[in-house]
């Protein structure tokens, strides 16, 4: 077991440099450390100017998504022992503008998420007494999509998002499906326009990487392909059925 390991980190300090550079730190190797621990060691002991996002350290908050050795990962869930012998290359997530060092600007996603109306749109009056009831099967239909933590690893893995920045993207579509599949929600028709529009599902060519990198097993690629079937069925129905029966 090595006593130290090299951590190569992307630095971008807009007041000092016009493009990102790489800075390497030698840090102590501990097999119970994750990459986020290593970054925290650098920040606390070696270089307080290093900037990155993190919060919960347990794969729940979705803040610490970065590229580790070329793949989008939650740094709180990536052990140094899986990166031996090093160096461990830590970069900001692809396709988002870099604000500073490992911090990227996620406003684009937040705007797109709002466009797909990720909230329950009920039909008519709420139940008079008590809460909406749901069977385990009804919960099962959308639960997987509700596990998304907005960590943006799927956007960083999606070359289509890189090439077509208008694409709504994997997480936002999976989250739209989370509400579409919910028995309490009646807003699918409102979401169809944006999801099936020019920036929506048809941009996706099913590379499938979003699902592979998802730390919460949300399967955005599956959500998108399943929605393609829904949208296509809706389109065929709109062609052949009279308006009232759709």
């Amino acid at each position: 077991m090595p006593s130290t390991i090299a951590l190569s980190v992307t630095r971008y300090r807009p007041e000092q440099e016009s493009e990102p550079t790489i800075q390497t730190y030698d840090i102590p190797y501990r097999d119970d450390w994750v990459v986020l621990d290593a970054l925290n060691h650098v920040k606390d002991r070696l270089d307080g100017s290093l900037s990155y996002r993190w919060s919960c350290r347990m794969g729940v908050c979705g803040s610490c998504g970065m590229k580790v050795n070329g793949s989008p990962k939650l740094t709180c869930a990536t052990f140094l022992s899986d990166c031996l012998p090093g160096p461990v290359r830590v970069e900001p997530l692809d396709y988002f503008p870099i604000v500073r060092d490992l911090v990227v600007d996620l406003s684009d996603f937040v705007r797109k998420l709002g466009r797909v109306k990720p909230w329950l749109i009920p039909d008519g009056e709420p139940p008079g007494e008590g809460e909406y009831l749901q069977t385990p099967d009804q919960l099962d239909a959308y639960k997987q999509y509700s596990m998304c933590i907005n960590c943006m690893l799927c956007y960083s893995a999606c070359p289509i998002y890189g090439l077509e920045p208008h694409f709504i993207g994997p997480a936002a579509i999976a989250l739209a499906q989370r509400y579409n599949m919910d028995s309490r929600d009646k807003g699918a028709a409102e979401r169809l326009e944006i999801l099936s529009g020019p920036d929506g599902i048809w941009q996706c060519t099913f590379v499938g990487e979003c699902t592979k990198v998802c730390p919460k097993h949300v399967d955005p690629a599956g959500a998108i392909q399943q929605y393609k079937l829904t949208a296509a069925t809706h389109w065929v129905k709109s062609l052949i059925l009279p308006r009232g029966t759709r």
């Binding site: 990102p20 692809d94 070359p159 590379v207 990487e209």
Partner: protein, 138 residues
């Protein structure tokens, strides 16, 4: 919005990265994806061959004989062999993706991936056997 210059001074200086035209060489799975997409060209090639064949049949026995002779040249045989392999890649890679796109529920339970995949392959084998039977009967 705050107009405090100390806060907004560096705000516009994001670094935006361009996507290289070689992005698909960065990862094996990206390269495999691009290959899968390119195989559609060969599916189109087979479709064109089939349509030309139908046209040749319609034009009479002489035209059809000429068409078959052209298909038998070494160059077209080689192209056909490569196209066949790539169409197989196309079919298999897309079949393998079907469980992602198709959610079949039986009795409230989602059918497992292997069952969806298996039924697709079974349908493929049965249809191929029917085609082979029709073609090889004579």
């Amino acid at each position: 919005m705050s107009t405090d210059p100390a806060y907004t001074l560096y705000h516009p200086r994001w670094y935006r990265r361009r996507v290289s035209v070689w992005w698909w060489l960065r990862k094996r799975s990206y390269a495999w994806f691009v290959l899968r997409e390119l195989t559609s060209v060969f599916v189109a090639f087979f479709a064109v061959i089939l349509l030309s064949q139908v046209r040749a049949v319609g034009a009479g026995p002489e035209a059809y004989g000429g068409f078959l002779a052209r298909l038998g040249t070494p160059l077209l045989l080689a192209v056909d062999a490569v196209a066949f392999l790539l169409v197989l890649v196309h079919a298999i890679t897309w079949f393998n993706l079907t469980p992602k796109a198709m959610v079949v529920r039986l009795g409230g339970k989602r059918m497992p991936d292997w069952a969806i995949l298996g039924s697709n392959y079974a349908a493929w084998v049965v249809l191929s056997a029917v085609v082979a039977f029709v073609l090889l009967r004579a």
